[in-house]
Symmetry: C2
Subunit: 334 residues, 2 copies
């Protein structure tokens, strides 16, 4: 298994290491992404490229390329697969922003504000359908099965979240179910589809799925904490987005489950009556009751799970980096 | 080729004949549809079954079953395929109603009004993803290619329509492009996927695609006319829905292209200032200038094209019924 542990983490960002290793593959994938968001209907590439060109970490296609490379998957098909994964993610962001009535995405006004909800819904549909066209071109049914299941699971997570919205009695278990469906399922499928494309056995495909799934959980749980404790300079934005939007995430659910300051959370998160000092108070409640630490400990467990999932798979420099990424995901400051 | 011509049409509805022939297959498909719209998230089957159980003609899955039966496709896979086609159609209706801000669908309040736009968007996504899962289960990449292309084309048609909304200078050509993308592409793929599932050669698959495509065009152009001339008793609703919603369809575009009563159309369709007698006046303008007849003649040409497309394919009772359906589509009164 991977030898990297939390203590031995290098100061470098292993996602950047991976980006460097896979620079040419990622460039080919980005080219394909831009190529396949084209359409005879000009509004489609306009909306799609507004979102996609605005950046984002491209972590999902990077994982697909990484896991495909471990098994020497066909390069050309791998690019199609990685683009497909990014299209599914982009489609879900477009629809998510409509449903959440978001104002901002990737540091710019959200597409729904610029082009309208209707265009966001339809262009999301386009990207989703295009993702399936790209997958069909790989000619691998196993890959299609993995990603169509992930795509369906994302929608189930979104609906579950929609139903849970504004509920102060949301259980931590349901919360984990939501982020598992919304985030981890696609992380898992992104990782598993690489070896699946290369024709790896089911056990190996499952190992990479489990890695990606646990990585996704760790990433999201760390995000929840960073939104309270994050450093403005390192993250390029002030903390407290979730708090100000009344988005109840892991640490707050832990507080509510333990009956800590229920009235405060009701006022600021549900009734959305927030004063100037309320974010500091929230941070203090979460900090002094060890709830941020508990969230971090839960995230760390997922990192260990991710590394463990790959234990029986062949060693390689990329696998080593994947293990580093699992720990980085739950220890990062940005 | 088919021997049925317009003159020899039986008074019976050939769609009902087809439903009778395929009764057991359709029942199995309906069972599968209800089974596969289930989810652990209760709101999903609630919204999905609200739309799907409200009826609709189920013409697309019926066509898939019919064309699959001609080639003795595997029954079980055929049901999955037919359900998949209906799911794609249902997903597009849910999103279409959000985009059009529709009040009514299938004689009941539209899902977006009952459950909200957000639920309609997400449950549409679910059905779309589920459609792909069902397709993957058929194990036929050719079928996946046909339907993923159709799904993408539908979204392009929707966006084209969104952009064209409220434009009085919409050309008839662009209008045909919109209905081809929104309706005919899925009709074509629904028909072609039957023989594709059974492993028929490309020429045959294309012939069935062309049949379905032309059938879809004829259906839609006839719908446009019926919305002006339709009999309330036979259709179960008063004519004029498109007119009252300011939806510019074929006959009106013909009037505008010929410069007939441009001011009137501007007032009633764009500015939506409609008086009590305006629908009668619209009907009179379209009738006295031969524009409804011209629309019917164009529809009839598509019926001929549909029949022609099947000319070189093997004769069978189902093929005979398909030819009757092509003519029925453009001559029906309801």
């Amino acid at each position: 298994m991977c030898s990297v542990m939390k203590e031995t983490l290098k100061p470098t960002n292993p996602l950047e290491t991976l980006s460097d290793i896979l620079h040419d593959d990622m460039a080919a994938t980005n080219k394909l992404i831009l190529d396949r968001l084209q359409s005879d209907v000009p509004l489609i590439p306009k909306v799609a490229s507004y979102l996609i060109a605005a950046g984002g970490k491209r972590i999902r296609p990077l994982l697909t390329l990484a896991c495909g490379n471990v098994f020497k998957a066909d390069k050309h098909k791998m690019y199609g697969l990685a683009a497909s994964v990014e299209f599914i993610h982009s489609a879900s962001l477009l629809h998510d922003d409509v449903v959440d009535e978001s104002d901002e995405r990737r540091g710019q006004p959200a597409a729904n504000l610029v082009f309208g909800n209707h265009a966001s819904v339809l262009v999301g549909d386009f990207l989703f359908a295009r993702a399936f066209e790209l997958m069909v071109e790989t000619g691998k049914l196993r890959v299609l099965a993995l990603l169509s299941e992930a795509a369906r699971t994302i929608t189930e997570g979104e609906v579950l979240q929609l139903v849970a919205k504004g509920r102060i009695d949301l259980s931590y278990e349901t919360y984990l179910q939501i982020i598992a469906a919304k985030t981890s399922a696609l992380f898992g499928a992104a990782c598993a589809s690489g070896p699946a494309l290369a024709g790896a056995d089911e056990e190996t495909v499952k190992a990479f799925y489990d890695y990606g799934y646990a990585l996704g959980m760790g990433f999201q749980l760390r995000d929840d904490v960073l939104d309270y404790t994050g450093n403005e300079e390192k993250r390029g934005k002030v903390p407290g987005d979730d708090f100000r939007e009344g988005k109840i995430t892991g640490p707050v659910i832990l507080a509510l489950e333990k009956g800590i300051e229920a009235d405060f959370w009701q006022r600021v998160m549900i009734d959305k009556q927030q004063g100037k000092k309320d974010f500091a108070r929230a941070l203090d409640i979460l900090g002094s009751n060890g709830l941020l630490e508990e969230s971090e400990a839960r995230a760390a467990k997922y990192a260990d799970q991710a590394v463990q999932a790959l234990a029986q798979t062949p060693n390689s420099p990329i696998k080593q980096t994947l293990c580093e990424i699992a720990h980085y995901a739950v220890n990062r400051e940005a």
